[in-house]
Symmetry: C2
Subunit: 186 residues, 2 copies
């Protein structure tokens, strides 16, 4: 199943979800269409499988791991570097989440949205802690989504095989987010 999901997420990114057929996926994993249908009755199930697994990776052990860090500063640094590492290691799945999730049937979309919401809440709670717990809710939302924006936008431009490693990029993002670009001004 994991192999089908991996091949399908590659195809979804290359051709788009709607333009990818079960036959395309079957051919990529050298199975018959019937073989695919044995695991996934519909293409929707494949998309859901990819996205729910990716969100599970994003959430898995996050709260436990955060407890290991002293201070919200280092927890935010950890969240950024973990987010980028997950993306770098699962680019096809991450891009599929960003581009194709809205095509899921409502009950599946709801399940994915709930996992995204949980992630949002964990990160927002850390940021609230970092900021002293008295930032108005609408500002905390804007701050949290600003961090997600920087981190998620990398899908549109960042090539992990280019000159910046994901560790270097994490550090740049952390510096912008925590200290602002003014801290680099010479």
């Amino acid at each position: 199943m994991a192999r089908i999901g991996k091949a399908a997420s590659k195809l979804f990114n290359k051709k788009g979800y709607l333009e990818t057929s079960i036959a395309d996926i079957a051919s990529a994993v050298r199975m018959s269409k019937g073989g695919i249908f044995y695991y996934f009755p519909t293409k929707n199930e494949i998309l859901y499988f990819i996205l729910t697994n990716y969100m599970d990776l994003v959430l898995e052990g996050l709260e436990e791991d955060l407890k290991k860090f002293d201070g919200s500063f280092s927890r935010i640094q950890f969240i950024i570097s973990r987010h980028l590492e997950l993306y770098t290691n699962n680019m096809d799945e991450a891009k599929t989440l960003l581009h194709e999730a809205h095509l899921l049937p409502p009950k599946y979309l709801k399940a994915i949205n709930e996992k995204e919401k949980k992630y949002f809440q964990i990160v927002a709670a850390e940021l609230s802690d970092f900021l002293g717990n008295n930032v108005p809710k609408d500002r905390l939302t804007a701050i949290t989504f600003s961090l997600f924006g920087i981190c998620n936008w990398i899908y549109s431009w960042y090539n992990p095989k280019g000159s910046l490693t994901h560790h270097e990029l994490s550090e740049i993002i952390y510096n912008i987010f925590s200290k602002g670009v003014s801290s680099w001004k010479l």
Copy 2:
């Protein structure tokens, strides 16, 4: 034509570009399908019309306007608030750009990408100036896309009719980007 583009961008966001038919667009503007075809021989032309007009709005007068500001600080502030205002006033077009541009035929996509690249270069030049003109190129790219990330990600969460006006959100984003969230720490 503008009326067709406006209605089509609304439909593209609601239903997706591929799922929207010329008949849907015709019905939204109370025209015959033939009436639409008179202006736009294919659906691709409608998508291109929407996106090229939006990018023209983004670029139009930007360089001239930037010259009116003293100091790269205030120019960056202006870029952020202008970006958010354009988005707020043209949400359907902006979302169509983000979600559907990749579905354009190559020659059209190339034309849009060139306009996006021009916008990138203008903003990167301002940031380079702000940072003292000696930030390595890959870092400047990361910084510029971080700003675009914060600004563009608002399409996924920001409701201009909610409690934050786009002026307030511009200010929050400017503060994060220039001074970092640490500046809010209490």
